[in-house]
Each structure stands twice: as structure tokens, then as C-alpha cells.
């Protein structure tokens, strides 16, 4: 994740999407009990914030 994102172009569509081509059967077959149990949490944990300027000596 970037901390300084670029500004969108004026004529850029603000909404992005993708159509998935996989069949429901294919996806359901993929998610075995084992794969579900081993899936990792996807999380965003930012670094612990340092002291703010006002808190510094």
C-alpha cells in the first residue's frame, strides 16, 4: 500500500471492476476444508505511530 497515492485523472472512471471467469463449481471445488483452515488473515497493520511533534522535547 502506498502512503502517497497518485491523484486520479479527471476523466478516469472512479470505479474499477473485474468479471471473474471461474465457474462456481471450480471455485467450490478449490475450497477444501484444509485450504479454508489454512487460509491466512489478510490484514493491514501500520507501524506503531511515533511521538507527535508536540510530544517531543
Amino acid at each position: 500500500m502506498q502512503q502517497n497515492p497518485k491523484k486520479p485523472e479527471p476523466d478516469e472512471d472512479p470505479v474499477s471492476h473485474v468479471d471473474l471467469t471461474q465457474s462456481p463449481e471450480e471455485v467450490l471445488e478449490y475450497w477444501t476444508k484444509e485450504r479454508m483452515a489454512e487460509a491466512k488473515p489478510r490484514e493491514i497493520k501500520l507501524p506503531e505511530p511515533g511521538p507527535r511533534p508536540a510530544d517531543q522535547d
Binding site: V15, V27, I44
Partner: protein, 322 residues
């Protein structure tokens, strides 16, 4: 009879099963034996290697572990029971119980429209949380942008929503996605301001639509800041385990560390796995959804969510009409 069996079961679950498992793993240093010297000859002990035990318990081994009751039953069959006449009675004694570290998050019963989402991204399998929302297509799930797209980068594949997930059970089935939506500014540059995504799912095998089966939450956009919210999710990282639903309630305030995100935070210690879980205005899951679990800071018990303004509203509208 029942009482005797329960007591035996409890003791053997802890002692025999543990020793057997650790011995097999090479984690125990020796078979249990009476301690030497001045130790009480009626007490046996064994030294175990904690690291070995942790390595030993793979998800597969935990799943195939035999219930301790089986071992208790075998012990009773062997008939190795002491006569009441030889059981010595000592002085009455007791010890105080202890509680684990309390969490801010509260345990919840499953809610039909809230669930877990599973997906593949960059070759790895991930889990987040999500919520079915009322929509024109009856098939829209709200979650985090980082649970549908790398931000910036590629979209997820193998995306499936499991409403009311409860310890491996999927009471309303698994709903596969046919399209994923996110704000362009999330997809092109991972702008935390827009960390929200929507999945449009296929009908189930009966042809029924998602919200006709599990219901759906209303949505709200462009609301006042500083509202009271209740967020839900399936935190998986310790001290949670991802098996059940949890919630946090609090009044939102701006992120003092990165005010440019425009996000708001509530007191909450839910961990990874809760990402994408819904924020409802008010104090329960009947409220309208107005954000999602997005991010936190290391060493801080605050969960932040994006402000649902016009861009996220447009993203929802496009997904809901597709």
C-alpha cells in the same frame, strides 16, 4: 456413573492424551515416573518441550485427534480403580481461579448476513470478513478493498462468501463471486481512503439470490462523522482463532496519525481475519452499514474504517446494479 465418567475423562484428557501426543512428537523427555528424592511418591511428572508441542499440532493432527473420552473409556475397561478404603483424605483446600486477558471485542452468535470470505491473491489463500447488503441484484457483499484487490495490483480469484460461518459450518452454503468492484484509487494506488470492495455473487444451486436467503443490511453514505458504530468480524490472529463472530462498539474519531486518510476509528482489538467486516450505525447488526474494518496500528487497540462518501457510494451502486 455420569459423574465418575466425567471426572475420569477430564483427568485423562489432560494427562494421558497429552503425554502420548508429546512422546510421539519427541517433545517429552521421558515417560512419566515418580520423582526421586523427597518428592511425593504418589505423584508422577514428566518434563515436556513446549516448542515441540506447538510444532506437532498441525491443523491435520488437531482435526484427527481422538476424543479424550475414548481413552477414559479404555481406562475404565481396564478396571484399574483404587478402592475407596485406600484413598487418603487430606485437609480441605482450594485455589483461586484465574481469567485470561480480557478482550475489548465481544463474542457474538452467528448473524445470517455476516460471514467470512475466502480468496486467492498473489498465489496465497486468504480469509477476511464480509456482509450481504440490500442491493438491486440481491447478490452484493461488502468487504474491504484489500480483500478483493491487492491495492495496487491484481484482483482476487477463487472468491467465496460463507454467511453465518460458525466453527467450520456453512449453514447458508458458500456463495462464489462472479465480479469484484473497488474504487479505482484503491486498485491503482492502494489509497487507504478508499479501502472498500464489493463482490457480486452467483445464485446458489437452487437459483436463489443471496439476500433472498440470508437477508441484507441497508447501506448509508455521506453521513455525519463521530457516530456510534458496532463492527463485526471473524478475527483469526491470536488471541482469537477465526472460528466465530466477534463485535466491538464505540464512538468513532479521526485517525490522529494519518488524518489524510479521512478514516475513523473505534476502540477494538479484533485482529487479522476481521478485515472487511461491517460497521453498522448503532449498537447491533440491525443497523445500516456505513464502513468496514480496514486497518490498525501495531500496539494499538483501535480499528479504523474508511469514510463512505461519494466514490464508495458510486462503487456500491455499480456493483449493486450489475
Amino acid at each position: 456413573m455420569t459423574r465418575t465418567r466425567s471426572l475420569a475423562s477430564g483427568l485423562l484428557t489432560f494427562s494421558a492424551a497429552t503425554v502420548l501426543a508429546l512422546t510421539s512428537a519427541g517433545g517429552a523427555s521421558a515417560a512419566p515416573a515418580p520423582s526421586g528424592g523427597n518428592a511425593d511418591p504418589s505423584v508422577a511428572s514428566v518434563t515436556v518441550n513446549a516448542a515441540g508441542a506447538a510444532d506437532y499440532w498441525t491443523p491435520e493432527r488437531m482435526q484427527s485427534a481422538v476424543p479424550g473420552d475414548t481413552l477414559a473409556g479404555k481406562a475404565l475397561e481396564r478396571g484399574n480403580r483404587s478402592s475407596p478404603a485406600v484413598v487418603e483424605k487430606g485437609k480441605p483446600s482450594s485455589t483461586k481461579g484465574t481469567k485470561g486477558k480480557p478482550t475489548i471485542a465481544q463474542s457474538e452468535d452467528p448473524v445470517s448476513h455476516i460471514g467470512k470470505v475466502f480468496f486467492t491473491m498473489g498465489g496465497a489463500n486468504y480469509v477476511c470478513s464480509g456482509n450481504a447488503v440490500t442491493s438491486a441484484n440481491g447478490s452484493t457483499v461488502a468487504t474491504a478493498g484489500h480483500c478483493v484487490n491487492e491495492g495496487p495490483g491484481a484482483y482476487a480469484t477463487n472468491f467465496v462468501f460463507v454467511p453465518a460461518y460458525d466453527n467450520g459450518a456453512a449453514p447458508y452454503g458458500k456463495w462464489t463471486a462472479k465480479a469484484l468492484y473497488a474504487p479505482t484509487q484503491w486498485v491503482s494506488s492502494g489509497d487507504m481512503t478508499y479501502d472498500t470492495g464489493f463482490a457480486v455473487v452467483n445464485p446458489d444451486s437452487n437459483g436463489d439470490l443471496l439476500t433472498d436467503v440470508v437477508g441484507g443490511s441497508g447501506t448509508a453514505f455521506n453521513q455525519a462523522r463521530g457516530l456510534t458504530y458496532t463492527s463485526y468480524g471473524y478475527p483469526q490472529a491470536a488471541p482469537f482463532n477465526g472460528t466465530s463472530l466477534w463485535s466491538c462498539t464505540g464512538t468513532a474519531s479521526a485517525d490522529p496519525n494519518n488524518p489524510q486518510f479521512g478514516t475513523q476509528g473505534i476502540p477494538c482489538d479484533m485482529t487479522g481475519g476481521s478485515s472487511g467486516g461491517p460497521w453498522f450505525i448503532g449498537t447491533d447488526s440491525d443497523g445500516v452499514q456505513n464502513s468496514i474494518n480496514s486497518y490498525g496500528y501495531k500496539g494499538s487497540a483501535v480499528m479504523y474504517g474508511p469514510y463512505w462518501g461519494r466514490v464508495i457510494q458510486d462503487t456500491f451502486t455499480r456493483a449493486a446494479k450489475s
